[in-house]
């Protein structure tokens, strides 16, 4: 009865670490290998986060450049995939801050308990899919990205915590806040 999500990036493998080690040694074909494996998931993440393909392309280019330069610094403490998403995220936020600083630098706001929130009566499951999608698009970046990473990339809470650089407890509350924000957007629409 429960549909489960699948990972877009596929499971991290020792092959990833080998590719990254070769990138550190200056091997361009290894960089192409990583781009082959992760280009699409990273691009989807960047596009949904930035809301614009062109900016996402730039961010992905800069991500791959940063991977090229920083591959030697990878110490294997996290999976290569999480490391890559972390780099992409920093590239994305550099761009977001440039354009809409007020929407980004409010991490506390994104995780704050919303006292005004009443009983969560609006059943999202009954809404039209396109209305829901449009609302996800309008979420603040911090909320949109946690949903995209969890439900499009299919990442675990542990991976989300590493990429978003927050404790696991905060991952759970941010997911919950993201859904509340989604409800509010849709309720406002109804009024």
């Amino acid at each position: 009865m429960i549909a489960t999500m699948t990972r877009q990036a596929g499971p991290a493998t020792p092959e990833d670490a080998r590719l990254l080690a070769r990138v550190a040694g200056g091997d361009r074909t290894a960089l192409a290998g990583l781009a082959e494996r992760y280009g699409q998931p990273l691009f989807a993440y960047l596009s949904t986060l930035l809301g614009d393909r062109t900016t996402a392309e730039e961010a992905l280019q800069d991500t791959l450049l940063a991977v090229w330069r920083g591959a030697g610094a990878f110490q294997g403490r996290s999976a290569v995939s999480t490391w890559l998403f972390g780099i992409a995220r920093r590239q994305a936020y550099t761009r977001l801050r440039r354009h809409r600083p007020e929407l980004v630098d409010d991490e506390q706001l994104a995780d704050m308990a919303d006292d005004a929130e009443g009983p969560e009566s609006l059943a999202l499951a009954r809404l039209r899919a396109d209305a829901l999608q449009a609302a996800v698009r309008r979420l603040r970046p911090l909320h949109r990205e946690v949903l995209v990473l969890a439900f499009w990339q299919g990442l675990s809470h542990a991976e989300l915590a590493e990429i978003l650089e927050i404790p696991r407890g905060t991952v759970k509350s941010r997911l919950s806040k993201a859904r509340s924000a989604l409800r509010r957007l849709l309720e406002e629409e109804d009024l």
Binding site: A3, L64, A129, A135, V136, R137, L147, F151, K172
Partner: protein, 301 residues
């Protein structure tokens, strides 16, 4: 489980809970309509988010090329992935394009220097009637070709090589194309000089003259190629020139002894007839080893 596992429901929906937690949540859901509704909500959110993600599609095809264009030139030429099969639809056109593409990548001075050497060789032979074409051309042709071949390949000779090697064209094909160019060019020049000398000197026939330098040319070139791939261009040139000089010095020193039967006949060096079939076999073997070695060269450098 008495408390509602609300905080775990997103992880339950994206199937990243541990098997134990997943089973616990499943058990709870079976008995809790409230949490089932929550799961249905999260699933709706998950579907909407996944739909957004799928709508993005793939990044543009040229994105990696754009990144590579921005990469700093690496100090070392990268290791190579197994070469992708080249587009097979028009093999001939592809080969022609590959060979033509190498022209600007070969040191420009090489063309002029080779022509100059052959012109000098022919001029000296023609100007001095005491000099035999059988002496000058076999001296010049192998060494010019060998030095040219040593300069064909490798990062010290071609700053654009790593770009060429990042394409699906295999390093062996690139090497072959360049060899074909340089050896073909030197061969044409040698034949031209050969024809000129043979036309002027009535005692010299065209083909015997050719056979005096052709095999040594290929032998010395194949040796030079292999050495340039294994130990580098500078060492290859040094060793090749050194061997060639030694060979001719011993011949010159011993010329006076020829009548005594102590000198090896022309074309013999260290027991090998460098103008005979053994030389061809040796040249072929050296070339094969060089081709086998070519991709490793990139790793070792």
């Amino acid at each position: 489980m008495t408390a509602h596992p609300v905080a775990d429901l997103p992880a339950y929906v994206n199937a990243t809970l541990s098997p134990r937690d997943h089973a616990e949540v499943s058990a709870h859901l079976a008995a809790c309509p409230t949490c089932r509704a929550e799961v249905a909500d999260w699933q709706a959110v998950a579907r909407a988010t996944a739909a957004l993600g799928s709508a993005v599609g793939a990044p543009p095809d040229d994105l990696l090329a754009r990144v590579e264009a921005r990469l700093p030139a690496p100090a070392a030429v990268p290791a190579l992935a197994p070469p992708a099969p080249p587009p097979a639809r028009r093999p001939l056109r592809g080969a022609v394009a590959l060979v033509r593409g190498q022209v600007p990548l070969i040191r420009r001075g090489l063309w002029a220097a080779s022509s100059l050497m052959f012109m000098l060789g022919a001029a000296i032979t023609l100007a001095d009637p005491t000099l035999d074409g059988m002496v000058v051309l076999p001296l010049v042709a192998p060494v010019v070709a060998a030095v040219g071949v040593a300069l064909v390949y490798g990062p010290e000779n071609d700053p654009g090589l790593e770009i060429a090697l990042s394409t699906p064209t295999s390093p062996r094909a690139v090497l072959l194309a360049r060899l074909a160019l340089v050896v073909g060019y030197d061969l044409a020049l040698a034949l031209l000089a050969n024809a000129l000398v043979a036309a002027v000197d009535p005692e010299l026939a065209f083909w015997p003259l050719v056979s005096s330098w052709l095999a040594p040319m290929f032998l010395l070139s194949s040796l030079s190629l292999l050495l340039s791939l294994v130990v580098g261009t500078a060492s290859a040139v040094t060793v090749t020139l050194g061997l060639w000089s030694l060979h001719h010095m011993t011949r010159m020193t011993w010329t006076g002894l020829r009548e005594d039967g102590l000198i090896e006949p022309v074309g013999w060096a260290w027991g090998i007839d460098i103008a005979g079939p053994i030389a061809w076999l040796l040249a072929a073997a050296l070339t094969l080893v060089a081709f086998w070695f070519a991709p490793r060269r990139e790793v070792s450098s």
